[in-house]
């Protein structure tokens, strides 16, 4: 099964730049909101990481801007979990305009695990492997590679 969460974005006036479109630098925060929403829905939260003794920093974040977002629009962001056997958390993102379902932006992020001494964790922490098992994301038909 594909794990996915969606939300409608509220565009703040302060996120709009002098071209009257949402500034490119606002998007990382939308992605972060989406990750938090995903975490709440599927029980993979930042606080959960801390409780198990890990951090999950971003090591890769990219964007493709297809269409501007204007103040007053109510775009929808979809976040999709991409299963991998490596000790990583990988998400794809899509922002659509619900008015006509046109694609506004896409993106991708990779997070790794770090212990509280700031050392990279080479194997998936047990709580994360259990989480993957619980949601069946590493079953054969769902495998990313």
């Amino acid at each position: 099964m594909e794990l996915k969460a969606s939300k409608i974005l509220d565009i703040r006036f302060s996120e709009v730049d002098s071209m009257n479109v949402v500034w490119h630098g606002s998007y990382p925060l939308y992605f972060e909101d989406a990750r938090e929403l995903f975490g709440e829905k599927y029980d993979l939260t930042y606080m959960g990481f801390f409780d198990h003794g890990y951090f999950a920093p971003l090591v890769e974040l990219n964007f493709q801007y297809k269409k501007p977002i204007r103040y007053g629009m109510h775009p929808r962001i979809d976040i999709i979990y991409r299963p991998t056997e490596a000790a990583k958390i990988v998400f794809d993102y899509e922002i659509h305009d619900p008015e006509d379902e046109s694609l506004i932006a896409t993106g991708h992020s990779v997070q790794v695990f770090m212990d509280t001494n700031y050392q990279l964790v080479l194997y998936s922490p047990p709580f994360y492997s259990e989480w993957q098992k619980r949601w069946g994301v590493l079953s054969l038909e769902n495998r990313n590679k």
Binding site: A86, A87, L120, L122
Partner: protein, 85 residues
Amino acid sequence: MEELILELKQKIIEALNLEEMTPEDIDTDSPLFGEGLGLDSIDALELIVLMEKNYGIKLANPAEGKAIFKSIRTIAEYVSEHRTK
């Protein structure tokens, strides 16, 4: 050993999506990280999966990783000695 070296190069190209590279482009004795192939610690996470999936090798101590992943040859030597499949 030469066969294993070629196989490792192919698997690394596949695991890291180094689509434009061929096994001939990877020098067996050059460093994989930093200079040479220019891999980083995040790439190492994919090598870890490759080692476990293909050869049944799980590194007991993450610190070993540095020495094992030094070059294709050091990986091949470690694999031939420790593989369980």
